[in-house]
């Protein structure tokens, strides 16, 4: 290892690290501008890489540049780069950028070069970024996968904190980066790794976002966010399997009454808003183990699992009343909504979920025939 470190030629290494940062900045810029991949997050990441690359350049040119310029380069540009990186973390999750801490650490930085202070600020920024990334990841993932996602970012934090501790304990040891020393060579190797890890970490966060969005889109109806027919059929199969193990379930089919006149007289936008309002209202009355699906058009279905017959009837009645009480308005104009509901309780002797679905469908028709806005059991 020492032999490898000794082999490295410091100016070459510096040039290579700067090149990596600039290449990363270029790639993020291309991703954001041309592929429209989370444009604001990509722009911030391009800026962070650019600032860090420039920080190294001005540090490398120490001696050629005026002294104060190199100081700005090494400390301020470096801290600014990490402040932008920290700001970009919530933007990946489509939230506003977090600038506050990045701005707060600013006055702490003294005018004279003080490695410990700037790395303290950077470590603090990265720690906060990690904590927030953890919070955001935990909303979507279980602890172990979330930790895996966070791992590269944690390594980056560890590296900058190690540098902070080192500067605190041995303040005399840090020569300007341009000077050839085995410590500087080691630190530059670490900076190279840091550049790669930091960009990999952010790329993973963005990829995770896209993958989750694709999963959502393949399982959910994009308008109402209820399960689509395929996903609901899967949920129904699971409930049917549960029935065999003695967990009863119930199926409700809801068809909105007089929906076509709403679409025709107020337009499709009004119809869409009504569907969203209905889905939200239904969802509010269900437990986390129940499923809400949209079969297309104005037809919804609800799976109650596990459920006792008595409470299934209660829930069906409650849903019917909730929809009737829903105060839906379009451009200030109220429009009454209601639904005809068919309820079917799965029987232990039924081996196919299809049979339950047919009974619920027949019951829903009976409710329509009997004058709408009511529950029928099949």
């Amino acid at each position: 290892m020492r032999a490898v470190l000794a082999l490295a030629h410091l100016p070459t290494l510096m040039l290579a690290v700067v090149m990596m940062f600039l290449a990363a900045a270029l790639v993020w810029a291309v991703l954001g501008r041309h592929l429209r991949l989370l444009p604001s997050a990509s722009a911030l990441l391009a800026l962070a890489n650019l600032l860090l690359g420039l920080a190294l350049v001005s540090e490398a040119l120490r001696g050629l540049l005026p002294h104060w310029l190199s100081d700005i380069g090494s400390d301020l540009l470096g801290v600014a780069g990490f402040a932008v990186l920290r700001a970009a973390v919530p933007v990946v999750a489509e939230r506003p950028p977090a600038w506050r801490l990045g701005l707060l650490v600013w006055p702490l930085l003294p005018e004279v070069r003080q490695v410990a202070l700037s790395f303290g600020a950077i470590s603090l920024l990265m720690l906060v970024a990690c904590a927030q990334a953890w919070g955001l990841l935990r909303q979507e993932l279980r602890p172990l996968p979330a930790l895996g996602q966070l791992f590269p970012l944690l390594l980056v934090t560890l590296a900058v904190s190690a540098r902070f501790v080192h500067a605190l304990l041995w303040p005399g040891l840090t020569a300007p980066l341009g000077e050839d020393s085995s410590f500087n060579t080691l630190w530059l190797w670490l900076a190279l790794l840091l550049c790669l890890l930091m960009n990999a970490a952010m790329a993973f966060l963005i990829v995770l976002r896209l993958v989750l969005r694709i999963q959502r889109l393949t399982l959910h109806d994009p308008l109402t966010d209820a399960l689509n027919r395929r996903a609901f059929a899967q949920a129904l199969e699971r409930a049917q399997a549960g029935l065999r193990r003695g967990r009863p379930y119930a199926l409700l089919l809801l068809d909105l009454d007089h929906f076509k006149p709403l679409n025709d007289s107020l337009g499709h936008a009004a119809g869409d808003a009504a569907l969203c309002a209905v889905a939200a209202s239904l969802r509010g009355a269900l437990r986390s183990t129940d499923s809400l699906g949209r079969l297309g058009g104005e037809e919804f279905c609800v799976l109650l699992s596990p459920v006792e017959p008595g409470s299934a009837r209660q829930v069906a009645q409650r849903l019917c009343e909730r929809l009737q009480a829903l105060d839906f308005r379009w451009e200030g104009r109220p429009w009454p909504l209601s639904a005809s509901i068919g309820l079917a309780l799965a029987r232990p002797d039924e081996h196919e979920a299809e049979a339950v679905l047919l009974r619920a469908d027949a019951a829903m028709y009976a409710a329509k025939q009997a004058g709408r806005n009511q529950v029928r059991e099949g």
Partner: protein
């Protein structure tokens, strides 16, 4: 200005390749994104490390042929795996044998050449086979660049072209020493490797973004545009209509469709909708857009089409639908549909009103007994049946 040290560049390149290999492995195993292509690229990047460091680390190894042979094998494999992954990512026909045969031939020839007449001829043959692999990858890119934004084709094409050129030069005897001692060679491998890797990452992310777009804009059951996708396409035609290029719109509603759903079940209804989409597509041009507005209602956008031509298209679709029955569990069902036709040249280029007029025409067609077409803005309602 201090000189640049090739060994350091080599080490930087190796570190980058190792991290990139782990990133590809994570994409393949954790995110399951294009698992096969990402897996191939993970292997290619991890193999790059011995390909780069082999000649330098193994230099003391005797006989020298062994260390050089290992480096060569790794180099050829890296390019073969990368070319395979690119073919996969571009969604080209999944042929493997040309690339694998080329790699194997290169390896055999270089081993044979190396044994026969010294190491330099062996290296030339290996370089030649690497150049051929790069050329094949470039050919694939040329064939498959249709779906890519033009910038992305360049981002991938330039490093591939660079690899082709560098390997050809090397086969011709350029920079005969290993890349641990030749600065231009070390630079070439670093810049080309870095840009190719980043280009491939951009390609994978581009595919993900396109996938999300497709999912948000298409109907999951039939695969045609959904209402949001239709609105976007119509806005595009709208802009063209304002510049004097007319377009037409057909609104299609299947007749008595609820009966199928009620009597045969939802599965039959879904299959019938898919059957209808198939029939409609068969009667349309490549640039026409088909959308499902929900339920049993469809819409067709016909660019560069006037009302009379649109009416002819609608008539063709109507008869086409009637002549090819929908078959469900051995039972033949005749489907029919009512059509409302509107065109920007008659109705004026306002999106909302064009859709509303087609809707009004559709209602007229339904009113007059279904299975017919009706034109918006036409003085006399035309009967199709």
């Amino acid at each position: 200005m201090p000189t640049v040290d090739p060994t350091t560049l080599l080490l930087v390149n190796a570190l980058f390749s190792a991290v990139a290999g782990l990133v590809w492995a994570a994409l393949a195993l954790v995110f399951r994104i294009a698992p096969l292509a990402s897996g191939l690229l993970a292997a290619a990047h991890l193999l790059t490390v011995p390909a780069l460091l082999g000649s330098w680390c193994l230099e003391p190894l005797r006989p020298q042929m062994l260390s050089q042979g290992l480096t060569r094998v790794a180099g050829v494999l890296v390019l073969a795996l990368t070319a395979l992954a690119l073919r996969r990512l571009l969604r080209l026909r999944w042929r493997r044998w040309d690339l694998l045969a080329l790699a194997a031939a290169g390896l055999l020839l270089s081993a044979w050449g190396g044994g026969d007449s010294g190491p330099s001829q062996g290296r030339s043959l290996a370089s030649l086979s690497m150049a051929a692999l790069a050329a094949l990858a470039l050919h694939d890119l040329r064939v498959g660049r249709g779906g890519l934004p033009p910038g992305l084709a360049w981002i991938l094409g330039l490093p591939l072209g660079g690899l082709l050129l560098a390997n050809l030069l090397r086969a011709a005897g350029w920079s005969a020493t290993s890349c641990a001692t030749s600065t231009p060679l070390a630079w070439a491998w670093l810049v080309l490797g870095l840009s190719l890797t980043l280009g491939l990452l951009v390609l994978v992310l581009h595919r993900l973004v396109v996938r999300v777009e497709q999912l948000t804009l298409s109907d999951p059951l039939t695969g045609v545009l959904n209402r949001r996708g239709l609105a976007i396409q119509q806005a595009r035609l709208q802009a063209q209509a304002e510049r004097g290029r007319p377009y037409a719109l057909l609104l299609i509603d299947l007749d008595h469709f609820k009966r199928i759903n009620d009597q045969l079940g939802h599965a039959a209804g879904d299959a019938a909708l898919q059957h209808v989409v198939q029939q409609l597509r068969a009667g349309l041009r490549g640039l026409d857009q088909l959308a499902r507005l929900g339920g049993e209602e469809f819409c067709v956008l016909l660019p560069e089409t006037r009302l009379v031509e649109a009416a002819a298209v609608a008539e063709r679709l109507r008869t086409g639908l009637k002549t090819r029955p929908f078959v469900w569990l051995g039972q033949e069902l005749l489907l029919s549909a009512s059509f409302g036709v509107a065109a920007s040249e008659v109705s004026g280029p306002v999106a909302e009103s064009l859709l509303a007029q087609a809707d009004a025409a559709l209602y007229r067609a339904k009113d007059q007994g279904r299975d017919r077409i009706s034109l918006a803005g036409a003085p006399l309602p035309e009967a199709g049946a």
